[in-house]
Amino acid sequence: MTARVAILMPAYDERVALGPTLASLREAARDRYVVTVFVVDDGSEPPLQIDADLPTRAFRVVLARHPINLGQGAALETARQLALARGDVDAYVTMDSDGQHGAADALRLAERVLSGADVVFGDRFAGASNVPRLRSVVLRAARLFEWAVTGLRLADAHNGLRAFSRRALEQIPIRQNGMAHATEIKQRIRRATPLVVTEVPVSVRYTKESLAKGQRSLGVFGIVHDLAIQYIFGEGEA
């Protein structure tokens, strides 16, 4: 039977890259997977449009839109809820819409879930990535921080390319609306019932566009701030 994969894809003002990202997914999945992409437009102005000719029988796209911009974590959570509401999915993948994650990598991660893993992280340092020097230093420092905060030791601290089994995804609600969700996900994995967690080499492509728009290295301060606020003021399990 063909495996069914759901892709959770937050998108904010990704007018240029979104179409090609979806198209490359469709090509990579052809004849091997039934893919449903849950694109959550995080309040882009004007709203993101997706070519109506893009979907096929085996490649569906669900488009949801936040009426206001909430942040990537919030968009992922919306996609998570939409995807979990569908019963017929074998593996869930979170993926950026700006083209820095490869479609083939995304499906390779899903493949690991199909063969028994619960959580699969992409590791850009083991793959063929052109990580800029400063970004590399920040990410390696972040790895230590994440290890201390989450107890989960990963080679790549903040990679948006991940795959989950349904059992895992159900246990990982995201309350961090901003970029701190990446840390939150790991905290929740740690607290969830034992999950099989693994890393797979992926290549992350840094383009001029993704660097201009994406996270600044200074963003780490925002992440630490958000985590502290949630820790101190957040209610319940957070």
Binding site: D51, A52, P55, V62, A64, L70, A85, R175, F233, G234
Partner: protein, 130 residues
């Protein structure tokens, strides 16, 4: 009276008059509370020695400190509560925006097809009809 005290009194009464003129129609009770607090404050600005006497009574050296300590305590608490409130508000806004997004989610390429919760579904959970 010192120049500073005079300026402070002008500020206090100026604000009072301004608030009475602009807010009278909708917020009477707040104005009464504000007036009581400001008049008391004005008294101690005009007669700082009275404040110092009051402070000495409880073992605090300066009249200003007598007011400063409780004010700082109150402000710290207030700022913590405000932070917390802001987080709660942000969470509510998130839930609202998410509910709208899920309700209006649609399958691309099938305009008639809603991807959100179908009208007959009972629970708030999102379901996709395909």
């Amino acid at each position: 009276m010192t120049l500073a005290a005079g300026l402070l009194l002008v500020l206090v009464f100026g604000l009072l008059v301004y608030d009475w003129v602009t807010l009278r129609a909708k917020n009477r009770r707040v104005l009464v509370v504000e007036t009581a607090a400001f008049v008391a404050g004005a008294f101690f600005i005009a007669f700082p020695s009275r404040a110092t006497e009051l402070a000495n009574l409880v073992g605090i050296g300066r009249g200003v400190d007598f007011f400063l300590y409780p004010t700082v305590i109150w402000l710290v608490r207030e700022s913590l509560l405000t932070r917390r409130r802001r987080l709660e508000d942000a969470e509510r806004i998130t839930q609202l925006a998410r509910a709208v997004a899920i309700a209006e989610a649609r399958l691309v390429g099938e305009p008639g097809q809603s991807a959100g919760a179908p009208p007959h579904s009972s629970g708030p959970s999102a379901s996709i009809t395909t």
